[in-house]
Amino acid sequence: MALPTLVTEHWYDLRDLSNLSREILEGADKILPHGIVYVLAALIGFVASFLIFVLPSQLIVGVYGERKLIGRMQSRYGPNRVGPFGLLQPIADAIKLMQKEALTPKGADRAVMYLAPIIFVAPAVLLFAVIPFGPKMILADINPALLYFLAVSSLPVLAAFMAGWSANNKYSLFGAMRIVAMSISYEVPLVLALLGVVLFTGTTSLQEMVLWQKHFDIWIVFLQPLALAIYFIAVSAELNRTPTDIAEAESEIVAGYLTEYSGMKWGLFYGMDIGYALAASAFAATVFLGGWSMFGLDKWVPPWMIIIGKTHLFYFVFIWTRGTLPRLRIDQLMAFAWKFMLPVALLNLVLVATERMLWVEQELDDSYLYIFAVVNIWAALGAIWAWSRFLGYRPERNPVRARLVNEAGGYVPVPEAAKGGK
């Protein structure tokens, strides 16, 4: 598919920042050799994406916004002391962590323990390299971008296992074993869900997926609602976010694989958890929510603003689940991956393959995509309903109020006198 020609070539056209960098590079090409200009191009792209996206998202939305929102959801204030509205909290945290001693316990494997945070952090930067921020704003437009993303995003599990194994601590080892078991369990439905998307678009390049969604004016989330649900749950399990963070469940195994880490080494793990969550959100926004395209609105609004907005929307849902849902048990999580998500993902795969086959073989026109969307939404609801019935749950009868509260005599409203004093 050809790139749309909506973007002009002027360097001051801020809808696509690559024009500016191209202008600089063409100037540089006259004085410098080609090899250096290639590296310079990559460097400019990297610095730009870091300044526009990673840094503000990571510090302001990731650290500050997450704590503030969770505070709001759990009826407390959140950070509000350092700077205006507590905005300088992430910087204060970083300074505090840098000044703390990083301990290494006796008998630990020192080299592996030192390497673990390095291997954990370095791939996080790599993930943003393949996310398209605009028609031409993409750092590395590689063809197998989806496979690349899956491969790189499974590296932190290795780092977490190194961290837990090397620390010479029972809790660390249990956390490491748990995170490996859980991520390999959720990897399978995750990949199967993304296969559904690949089947529809017929490509593994993220830029071409966005162009596909732009061409047909439909987001893949409508065609693949079940895939998005599976992706969201699986990714939140792999990222170790709160409803599924049994690898560092503080009520069971202290802090899991992070038990023996302190100071900046711990801070690197903590900071890059947010980085990975943002990368997963950006990936979901690209694959499922249309990336930088928005039904023609991308002509007027800069495409990179659209994808940043979508990423943060997705990240907000991550925070929301983290703030509201309690932690699940490990046996529940493993059973959910193997008994619920895997069969449903396989079903989704077969359904999508059949639809794609029909679409091409019978030479149906594009309006059939909307029919497929309706069919898939109902199939998703039906599959979830039927399979939970099969496993002995009734999702439609989910109690509105917690059962334990009812058994204890129901919800007792807070008396007015207790509310009064502030």
């Binding site: 990559a42 840098m98 590395a140 074993m177 396989l346």
Partner: protein
């Protein structure tokens, strides 16, 4: 965009990632105190002295999960090239993949029945 153009960008991202970690670790090396003391080096076990060896034994169920994962991940490796290209290939490729997935579903059902999926 040429092949090397894209992958050189990824190379730069690798270097940038290592620089990011390096600055943080160098900063903590410069700013943080490092005082060796025997009490601090004891493994954390909720305030008690550690009992026994610290590399504990781990249940065998993790091993079963790893084997299951191997089976299903190799399966997805086979499905990926099919997913990208099956539309240009003859019809029977589609049916063959259905048979392949069917065999895997049978395998999953067998594992389920034998209780491999139970976490106990």
């Amino acid at each position: 965009m040429s092949f090397y153009d894209s992958w050189s960008a990824i190379m730069v991202a690798v270097i940038a990632g290592f620089i990011l970690v390096g600055t943080a670790l160098i900063a903590t090396r410069l700013l943080a105190p490092f005082a060796r003391e025997r009490g601090k080096a004891v493994s954390y076990e909720c305030g008690m002295l550690p009992i026994g060896r610290n590399w504990a034994q781990v249940h065998v169920r993790y091993y079963l999960i790893a084997i299951l994962f191997l089976i299903f991940d190799v399966e997805t490796v086979f499905i990926f090239p099919w997913a990208v290209t099956f539309i240009d290939l003859p019809m029977f490729v589609f049916y063959e993949m259905l048979v392949f997935i069917g065999v895997l579903v049978l395998g999953l059902a067998y594992a389920w029945r034998r209780g491999v999926l139970e976490w106990r």
